[in-house]
């Protein structure tokens, strides 16, 4: 009886493993495909997918296969696409640079502002600070359809539309990191802070030497999540920039035309690189931070 039960459990476990691994592989396929396709020469891309992206009357004499031809492994590995986007054609690097210049200041300054605010919330115990924190949470729950309108009004009055400030300022003061860091900092035992006080530390020293180092892990996960959110941004540049040269690569990628479809895969892969590096560097912190975010009681 017990042996039969064990056997049954074993079989269930094997089935679950197979299902899980299959699902995981399917999940990764789009990413792997984008990467392997970026290693194809542009003639190969055109012959594989030309019929999808080619507009009807280009008139060239390229060979285009009748049906779409999804391939994992390139016929010949070629770095020519990368050579084009990185060296020959400056457009992609410029747009990539736009993305960097828009996102990095938001990540850095949102973290600084949020660390300060989290310490402020941790060290005040008044009704007012509870109300302020609650309104931050409400703000956090609001979708872009709500927050972009007030953002737009202020930016318009300040004559900041069509400048990078239009993306930076609302991004820096967005309360996401404040929420996560405050929840975490509030758990630092008051005994620790009191002990530092007795040793003669002032508020700034308590903040910078005790609280910030303790929050290092959760701060890393804030950095990753905020970076990803803004690296993906579409709404803000569409509304706040009239000058399309300022657009980040995220928007530009969707507008690549049929002639350059080979380049698109390389550019798309290139655009993933900073994110995947961040993931490699901070996966443990990210998982911990996401999990912590959900700890409702605390």
């Amino acid at each position: 009886m017990s042996l039969g039960k064990k056997r049954k459990q074993m079989i269930i476990k094997i089935i679950l493993t197979i299902v899980a691994v299959t699902t995981a592989v399917i999940t990764l396929i789009p990413i792997v495909l984008t990467f392997t396709n970026s290693l194809m020469a542009s003639s190969e891309i055109t012959s594989n997918y030309g019929m999808i992206f080619e507009k009807t009357d280009t008139g060239g004499k390229k060979y285009i296969s009748e049906t779409v031809n999804l391939k994992f492994i390139p016929d010949m590995v070629s770095l020519s696409q990368y050579f084009t986007i990185l060296i020959k054609s400056p457009d992609y690097l410029l747009k990539f640079w736009n993305s960097m210049i828009l996102v990095v200041p938001i990540v850095v300054f949102q973290l600084i502002v949020a660390l300060l605010a989290a310490y402020g919330f941790t060290r005040t115990k008044g009704k007012l600070s509870v109300i302020v924190f609650f309104s931050y949470v409400i703000l956090l729950l609001m979708p872009y359809q709500v927050t972009l309108v007030p953002n737009y009004l202020v930016l318009n009055w300040m004559h900041l539309l069509n400048t990078n400030w239009a993306i930076w300022l609302p991004g820096i003061f967005s309360p996401f990191s404040v929420y996560l860091l405050t929840k975490y900092m509030k758990r630092i035992p008051t005994a620790l802070i009191d002990a530092a006080k007795i040793d003669g530390a002032n508020e700034w020293q308590i903040f910078s030497r005790i609280c910030v180092p303790i929050c290092k892990g959760i701060a890393t996960s804030c950095v990753i999540l905020v970076f990803m959110d803004y690296w993906n941004m579409v709404e803000q540049p569409l509304l706040f920039f009239s000058d399309t040269d300022k657009y980040p690569l995220s928007i530009f990628l969707s507008k690549i035309n049929a002639q350059e479809i080979g380049l698109a895969f390389a550019a798309a892969t290139f655009y993933m690189v900073p994110c995947l590096l961040l993931y490699l560097y901070g996966e443990a912190e990210l998982v911990e931070g996401v999990a912590y975010q959900g700890s409702v009681k605390g």
Binding site: A20, T124, P175, V296
Partner: protein, 294 residues
């Protein structure tokens, strides 16, 4: 003596005020104060003459067919995508939690889409779901009729797939954390009473997971309102009617600089969000109540 205490208190307040100031000022200037203006704008006829018109803007917006389409599409998308995002993520978490090998590799794989920009992945999605794309070529081979995936109401399905692909991992990590917090003695006690795995899940684990279900539902709902990104990157400025979301409506209204419409639509949206949140919290509170009393 008394004076020095109040002085110290005051100093403490000004200290935390110093730490809070940058954030509070920023939030006030960029979010809260202009939102008050948004409320004001929703009740006047235009930003120049500023005469009070009562609920006229509200009636105009809600009777506007573009707004209704956009609102309906967005709600339909959320109504399908959010429960799927919660339930499938919970199943994934339960699967990983069942003690199968390669736990951390599997978790990393499921979380990877979160770390891949949508813009990088839409190309493959286009290759798959174009009229002459991979999926249709499979359908043709199987003898079926090709579907206009991105140019018909089937687009909703494609977008839901992309949304789930991107968001399941995040929700799964949240559920894994919650499963880790289910007290083992409750599970063991149920096992001793002879409860099966399924019974244990419904009668023990689900109770402890209920706050997390509420949380992931709210989170997925917020993310579902961001789905404009995916739609825009996949289908451009002018999608088919079924994919016309609220953010498309907002973008068009921004383009025509109609502040009244914009403001009123924003107020409607914030109102809907607040109502949904209130319902969620009430349900969670009601469901989790006897748990806290134990």
């Amino acid at each position: 003596m008394k004076q020095s205490v109040s002085k110290r208190k005051k100093r403490k307040k000004s200290v935390s005020g110093f730490f809070l100031a940058p954030s509070v000022v920023g939030v006030l200037v960029f979010f809260v104060l202009p939102f008050l203006v948004v409320i004001y704008f929703s009740f006047v006829d235009n930003p120049i003459s500023k005469s009070f018109v009562g609920l006229e803007n509200y009636i105009n917006v809600i009777t506007n067919s573009a707004f209704r389409t956009a609102f309906g599409n967005t709600m339909l998308f959320s109504a399908i995508a959010v429960p799927l995002a919660v339930i499938l993520a919970m199943l994934l978490a339960l699967m990983l939690d069942a003690g199968i090998p390669m736990y951390s590799q599997l978790r990393s794989s499921f979380l990877t889409p979160l770390m891949v920009p949508t813009a990088s992945i839409v190309l493959i999605w286009q290759v798959l779901f174009d009229n002459k794309g991979v999926v249709n070529s499979w359908i043709l081979k199987a003898g079926g009729d090709p579907v206009e995936w991105l140019k018909s109401s089937a687009g909703l399905f494609v977008i839901i797939l992309l949304f789930l692909w991107k968001n399941l991992g995040y929700n799964m990590v949240l559920f894994l954390a919650a499963l880790g917090n289910v007290p083992t003695d409750s599970v063991e006690a149920a096992e001793l009473d002879g409860a099966g795995k399924i019974q244990i899940f419904f009668h023990v684990k689900l109770r402890y997971l209920s706050p997390m279900i509420a949380f992931t539902t709210i989170l997925s709902m917020i993310n579902s309102f961001k789905v404009f990104r995916e739609v825009y990157l996949l289908t451009g400025d002018y999608p088919v009617g079924a994919l016309y979301t609220l953010q498309h409506y907002m973008n068009n209204t921004f383009a025509s600089a109609d502040y009244q419409k914009l403001s009123t639509a924003a107020i409607y949206m914030s109102f809907v969000m607040i109502v949904i949140m209130a319902i969620m919290f009430a349900v969670e509170h009601w469901y989790g109540k006897d748990l806290e009393e134990e």
